[in-house]
């Protein structure tokens, strides 16, 4: 989402429409080495996910129990660059295919959280009154249960599985986005341009969608990018607890970490490889989120 919009902003810049929030943000972002590193990490991560079948040296589901000794798995070798897991499956190929799941997980979880959160936040913030109180009290109640516990609770209700943990993490994100957008809209609602639009007879719905929302959205985009990072961690955590995909052949990074402590003595790389993959992808989104926050900060505008 943010990348697409940034590209759009870039096009606008080339056409010569400079001076807007997005073109300014983009020009600041381009000079931020951290954000560039983030884009590089996320780009590489997306490329690996998309081209997984071409890059992976082996089928991630291919078992070869003949490779596995009594004390578990042979380590890295020329044939298996990152070694094999306790079922003799190629670790590198599993990590490469796992990138698909992590990307999917992040995007789905944040989309769920973002869309419901935005809807509730926008309605509460714009309508105010009883609706606002009702929605926000419900959000307060959800926020009173620590995020991961809420997600665990939802998984317990839906049953374990990849799709279920994505939804659970998404729902746990709803109150965060709802609060953020509501606060942002409350600040915009009283702005002069809203009064102007209302006085010339623009409908409330049109004011909300085409005036208030675009102006309230930048903190949401920053939060959305950072939420992608947290979502990947949280989903991996649920997978680690055994609530993830129930088909053990699914190469989900968090699930791959489950039970690895049994092999810490003989095959520590089984824990290290998926862990590093998670850290790098999460770091990428965190770097972009931080860069965006600085680039979109209205206090820093005009200093590009």
């Amino acid at each position: 989402m943010s990348i697409a919009e940034l590209e759009a902003a870039d096009v606008a810049l080339e056409v010569g429409g400079g001076g807007g929030l997005w073109s300014e943000a983009w020009s600041r972002l381009r000079r931020n080495p951290g954000a560039l590193a983030g884009f590089a990490l996320v780009g590489a991560f997306a490329a690996v996910a998309i081209f997984a079948p071409l890059i992976a040296p082996h089928d991630p589901r291919d078992q070869n129990l003949a490779l596995v000794g009594i004390s578990c798995c042979p380590g890295p070798s020329a044939h298996h660059l990152l070694g094999v897991d306790p079922l003799g499956r190629d670790e590198l190929s599993r990590i490469i295919f796992g990138a698909r799941f992590s990307l999917l997980i992040g995007v789905v979880a944040v989309t769920v959280g973002l869309s419901f959160g935005l809807l509730l936040g926008a309605v509460a913030g714009y309508l105010g009154g009883v609706v606002d109180s009702l929605v926000m009290r419900l959000m307060d109640i959800m926020l009173a249960i620590p995020g991961l516990l809420l997600a665990i609770g939802i998984v317990a209700m839906l049953g374990p599985g990849l799709f279920q943990i994505m939804v659970a993490v998404g729902v746990a994100n709803v109150p965060i986005f709802a609060r953020l957008l509501r606060g942002s809209i409350l600040a915009q609602r009283e702005a002069d341009y809203v009064l102007a639009a209302r006085s010339v007879g623009v409908k409330r719905r049109v004011i909300l969608v085409s005036h208030v929302l675009p102006n309230s959205i930048s903190p949401v985009i920053v939060q959305g990018t950072l939420a992608l990072a947290t979502a990947i961690i949280d989903v991996a955590g649920l997978g680690f607890l055994g609530l993830g995909p129930q088909d053990p052949a699914t190469p989900e990074w968090g699930t791959m970490l489950t039970d690895t402590d049994r092999y810490l003595q003989s095959a520590p790389y089984l824990a290290i490889v998926p862990g590093v993959a998670i850290i790098l992808s999460v770091l990428g989104f965190n770097l972009i989120g931080d860069g965006l926050r600085e680039a979109l900060d209205p206090k820093l505008r005009g200093r590009a």
């Binding site: 951290g34 009290r137 419900l138 307060d140 109640i141 959800m142 009173a144 249960i145 620590p146 995020g147 991961l148 516990l149 665990i152 609770g153 998984v155 317990a156 209700m157 049953g159 990072a229 961690i233 991996a236 955590g237 680690f240 607890l241 055994g242 609530l243 968090g254 970490l257 690895t260 402590d261 810490l264 003595q265 520590p268 824990a271 290290i272 998926p274 862990g275 998670i278 850290i279 999460v282 770091l283 965190n286 770097l287 931080d290």
Partner: protein, 335 residues
Amino acid sequence: MLRFVVRRLLLLVPILIGISLLIFGWIRALPGSPAESLLGEHSTPQAVASIRHQYGLDKPIYVQYWDYVQTLAHGNLGTSITTQRTITYEIGHRFPATFELALAAMLFSILVGVPIGFFAAKRYGSAFDHLSLVGSLIGISIPIFFLGLILKWAFAVKLGWLPSIGREDVLAERPHPTNLFILDALLNGDPGALWDAIKHLMLPAIALGSIPLAVVARITRAAVLDVQNEDYVRTARAKGVPPLIVDSRHVLRNALLPVSTVIGLQTGLLLSGAVLTETIFAWPGIGSWLKDAIFNRDYPVLQGGILFVAVVFVLVNLLVDLSYALINPRIRYSR
């Protein structure tokens, strides 16, 4: 101030009712019947019916909720289906473990994070500053359970310095009047037990404290940078106050205000993280208990345990708000 406290306490009531409704409704939506999971392979329709009757599961749903609220009001959270012990007993036994762990993690993050943030800001733009920023970004990007595994591998498996599971030596038979093992060791005057408890606490506390550490360091750095340019700091310097006093009395004390809020907000994260950390280090606290309850479909434990955690979380946030109003004269007695 009193009015502020009373108002905040009254605001708790609807939240608590909401939480109890949410948890009650959610428990009923869980798949699988607890009676069957309790009886396992030996379940017969008669046995299931008698268990359902024993736990009141055959009554209408609103009666079940009303019964639930009434027993709650008596301070009775029910009985665990798997262990047959009361939830209050289990919480009394397990919460001190989680409390000790969370407190140690918090102390670790503050004692390490505040100095890092402070010196990074004092040497703004230096190599140390850049290192601290990169470090804190990596810190918030590491999944707790992965850090836990790595710590276990390095310090328990490879180096053999620290134990990797539990709260004390498995063979130890020591009295635990408070269930806070460090406090117990001090009360008993037993230095061996104290060292044993600290050794067991170190790895889980570092794993759990890593994210708060990164956040505390970042916020401290930003706050010190902010405060450093305030007029009162310049005034203090101009009138010749020694740099050490300016730093401690004028800069750090004011910079710690935003830090204290963040510490409060991290409590939820600690309670969440406890589920993962306690699972990795076999720490017998609330987190590992709730995790097991999900797999055992132990409804009363989930109901009581999550309610308890939510109440603790709400109360901690209240305390943070109150202490913030207390230490910051500018926002005291918010209307």
